[in-house]
Symmetry: C2
Subunit: 325 residues, 2 copies
């Protein structure tokens, strides 16, 4: 599979302005933000994952794309494959319902199909959101902008590592891996001010480079500034190796925003408990991504995140587990 | 898998009015009609089917749901799984592009995911349409309405039977099976006048019964009135057995409309070559489905179409091949 060919072909088909060149997390149609994400068993989730957490995550990763565009949830369509005992599907739907209720997302329809016996489950969701005024693109970042991160990075990757070592692991990191939280309210607060915004799903470094490239800029990420949770620090520490792990792990569903340098997000109406951290800046020249730690340059790691899947279109925001370190 | 449980669970989640009780082919959100259909390799299409025809069909079955609601295509999201050689995906996208161009459907986004090696392909599409004034429901049929069919029935099922006997079969029936035509323009002409309308995808008899039940009516279908193509008649004849085959075969993507008895569709502005045929009526009482042929009652066949998949939500309009006679 030469995937670049496939993505290239998709770009030649999707020429309408609403498609945003297939370079954004979403399409924008008449004031609505629309996005679709699918997940496959054995690729994006483990057969042993609790089905309710798989349902929750499918909703959350789609809502994270809405959050990055400052949109309000309007409705969802579910693509459900039926296979195996109905307990799995019922548990999965319990997670769908819990997440839809938590974030005020009405389930409007979709379809159910059978799969051949033994085929891995593939589950998809389309989410439609009502956009507010301007919908920030990935590509609007400007020289001198500060890069801000809403949320923390590394928790989900650390949780997955725990599960890989011991499938019965529990604790806050496993919870965050299984039940990510879309930053909807913070996204709505930032969207009117952000030159560019996206959700961090495939790894902060990879996603930051995507934002910088789309904005024809270079991004500098200050690794010592990365927001890490206390659970993450307790598990993996906070040295450079831990910070690089957190910055490339993916599945964070944090928000990355390019804001004017003079804007202090504290002055915006964000929820009181929003953790928002300045982690770098955009410059006009130089390579698309530079790293520093305590002011010293740091070499780029070989892998910035999960790149092999198409970032065609509109939010490939579910990084596959299969290829993780 | 006790599928009825799963569908029941979905109904308890999807309580918003826009979901139309999960009893229609589509959801209707703020004047937009939205629908999603997925197809799986080995269930809805054969691994030997030309990939371009699979792409065409995925677009066409989704547009057929829009046609049944009188909506104009506004945009599509594609859920593409990548596996095997890229030639398949490129061929598939050629079919997507051809159908999108034919019907003025802009491809806006979607996602691409990898599947585990050897997993059957699952392909999904969400289509959004702009609704015109009233969007006919399945449930609006009234006692005394005439039932009209746009298009013919049986061609696709006859084409599939030819392919099952000889996978290299060709000809007009195979073409219709592989490249169905959504009745978009006729649907827009009928929608303002139809008490109820749906597309015929799972078998005319099954779908007519669904319309009758949703409308709390009984449907009588006059088998001798069924519109059959000359290619169908040449292949299978037009006796009662052939007519029952045509009425239960599925994959027709014809439109079934309940119109006021006094309305002559010839007076509507339908495209000149529209084949529209009165095939029965709705009554206030009696069983939900009765068949006649030349005025004599005909016993219902054991199988009315493809019922085992959920008609959750919004157009399960792709009948699986696996369970066909």
């Amino acid at each position: 599979m030469r995937e670049s060919e496939v993505i290239e072909r998709l770009r030649r088909i999707a020429t309408a302005p609403e498609a945003r060149g297939l370079l954004d997390d979403v399409a924008v149609l008449d004031g609505y933000v629309v996005t679709h994400d699918s997940i496959a068993e054995g690729v994006h989730f483990l057969p042993s994952d609790p089905p309710a957490s798989v349902g929750w995550k499918l909703v959350a990763v789609n809502l994270s794309d809405l959050a990055a565009k400052g949109a309000e949830p309007a409705g969802a369509l579910l693509a459900l494959t039926l296979s195996g005992p109905s307990e799995w599907a019922l548990g999965f739907l319990g997670g769908i319902e819990a997440a839809c209720e938590s974030y005020g997302l009405p389930l409007l329809g979709g379809d159910t199909i059978s799969l051949p016996i033994g085929a891995p489950r593939v589950l998809g969701m389309t989410v439609i959101g009502r956009a507010k005024a301007e919908v920030p693109h990935r590509s609007g970042g400007k020289t001198g902008d500060s890069l801000w991160l809403v949320g923390t990075v590394g928790d989900a990757a650390a949780g997955l590592a725990l599960l890989r070592a011991e499938s019965k692991s529990t604790g806050p990191l496993v919870d965050i891996y299984r039940r990510p939280v879309p930053q909807l309210v913070a996204g709505r607060g930032l969207a009117p001010h952000a030159h560019a915004m996206m959700d961090v799903s495939d790894g902060l470094l990879l996603d930051a480079r995507r934002l910088a490239q789309a904005s024809k800029s270079g991004a500098t990420i200050e690794l010592d500034a990365l927001p890490l949770s206390s659970a993450f620090v307790a598990e993996r520490g906070q040295d450079l190796a831990a910070r690089l792990f957190a910055a490339t792990g993916g599945d964070d569903y944090a928000l990355l925003a390019a804001l004017p340098a003079e804007l202090d997000p504290e002055t915006l109406s964000l929820p009181k408990d929003t953790r928002i951290t300045r982690i770098g800046s955009l410059s006009g020249a130089g390579p698309s991504l530079c790293l520093t730690c305590r002011g010293e340059p740091v070499e780029l790691p070989e892998k910035l995140g999960f790149e092999h899947e198409g970032n065609f279109p509109c939010g490939l925001s579910t990084s596959p587990m299969a290829d993780r370190p």
